[in-house]
Amino acid sequence: MASETWPQNKVLKGIAASPGIIIAPAHVLADRSRVQVFYRYLGSRQQVAGEQERFREAIIRTQQELSRSKEAIPEDFREHAYIVDTHMLILQDRLLLDETLRLIQEEKINAEWALKQAVKKAQELFDQIADPYIRSRVQDIEDVSERIMRHLTGTSPSSFTNFKEPVIIVARNLSPVDTTQMSLKRVQGFITEMGGKTSHIAIMAQSLRIPAVVGLENAVREIDTGYTLVLDGLTGKVIINPDAETMSLYLARKKQFENFKAEINRSSFMPAVTLDDYPTRILANIEFQDELDLVLDYGADGIGLYRTEFLYLRQHYLPTEEELFEDYKTVAHIMKPKPVTIRTLDIGGDKFASYSQYVQEMNPALGLRAIRFSLKEQQIFRSQLRAILRASAFGTVRIMFPLISGVQEVLAARQMLEEIKAELQQEGLNFDSQIPVGVMIEVPAAVMLADLLAQEADFFSIGTNDLIQYALAIDRGNKYVAEMYQPLHPAVLRMIKQVVDAAHAAGIPVAMCGEMAGDPIYTPILLGLGVDELSMNVPSIPVVKRIVRIATLAEAKEFAHQALQLGSIDAVTSYVTNFMARRFPEVFMFGRELVNSNY
């Protein structure tokens, strides 16, 4: 029971790391953060040798401890065993092991101090890394050195109790190895002071479907074991000892979230039809065959984008027609009778390790890539077209050309396709002679020419990532302008409208396969603009399908019509946000979090 001195209804804000809401008592793990380390000078050679020996023994004991940890990992956590392997490698790494031994020898310092210096050097090295995910792996070095320190200093590791009641674990930092040792049945949530969205604990919590908030400063100081906590893994909020009102608010929110999750999972297998019976199609973007299981699990209506670059990114040789054929055939066969839309090669010469003569491009986004590359390197293109055509005999295959900027490119590509059809016929090989040919709309020029391109295509597929980048002249990778990358820019909405109108006037359907298609916030507006098919990364499918199934085409059309009248990004954004919050509150509250986690 809450005593007078307990904090009441105190809200802390961290980083939402794994979605879900949980209300349970806290269990704070003793701060095992830093073993105290002191400097000691070694006066004699024997002392140096002894110190090195002591360090080696600590390494061996740490290694044994890690081996035991690995064996003790419960079934639920098996897939995370690699973390222990990683730690074993770090333990033996020359930057830690050899460097510490060297420092003991040369600086004549004790093992703890030497290890601390070696770790510091490694930390400095990691500080230089630009990639945030890789940079954050410095955590692993710290975990390992902490473990060695404990063996050096004889500090006993705090062991995890087997909790009798459901608890939310609160800790300064949770080493993944430690986490694998917990009895998960009672662990309802994780809160840590350290870590970000890409930390081990975030990834593990997501795969275990346990809500988590990380990067919550002062969590250990603010929270005591036994406090009641509300953990909202959707917003990153933690509420300490909530009052009755807050409690009932969150109980309701929790229930709402769980119903929503159950609902979207149920509707995932139902057809994407609006309440007023307008059928649309929700497809998946994939890159690898091994994603097909998930595609089928999530009830996709087909593959709207099969990226084919991977097989070309190998080093020593280009893929043979046979290899490509086998790959496409497998995908077509597994998805049959659902369509598989194969996008022809969409990379620039710069990505070919074996094509180094193209490496020097000042501006690859505007360079020799996609269809331009294919039309220039016709041998490469022909073998891909042959493979796609041959695979079309084994399922429902569609082909689409990326980065089209004018009619000529479509005609040239189609002509090659026709030549190859004739070749295959002569060779007596089967293929779908009516294979649908699509044009990707990714360049503003293609939008302007949509009416003409529609005459030469069986369907359009709008690639929003490139289209928005080219139309708004924004490089999303450039942090100074990244915020100006706005799918709701009035110019983008008008372009989509123009493409849809041109396509429908010519009697062909329009698909969309960029990220915009998979963000549930945009589903109603795209539906209302008349996009016929949305293709997205697999985790988006259930949420987007859910929206389609509880929307009507009539309201979506009206909504899109109103949005098109607005002249600024801010106006459109607030209009869309208000509409979504009012009309699809659950999707608005939970949809994005579900889509963005590894659910």
Binding site: L96, A122, I134
Partner: protein
Amino acid sequence: MMSNMTDLDGNNADYQAKLLVCNRLGLHARAAARIAALAQEHQAKIILEKNGLQADAKSILEILSLGCGPGTVVQVRVQGPEASEALQALQELFRLRFGES
């Protein structure tokens, strides 16, 4: 492309190749661990290079410290006994995206 500066007995050959990091997360902990484990199985010296930074492939921390995000092209140099086998194994590991799904 692979270049091969074999000496006469073919033993201490120096092989080079460019490898593309084509998994989703780049050379992060798991991928780097795979590379280091593989390198440790081979006697040959394997050096990874990116933007003038070098890493001994036997050291997971050095590999991580290169900071290879997805799409990075890494230059690899292999020297010593059975260098060609080591390089082939490494190329295969990159090709299979370090065994990630």
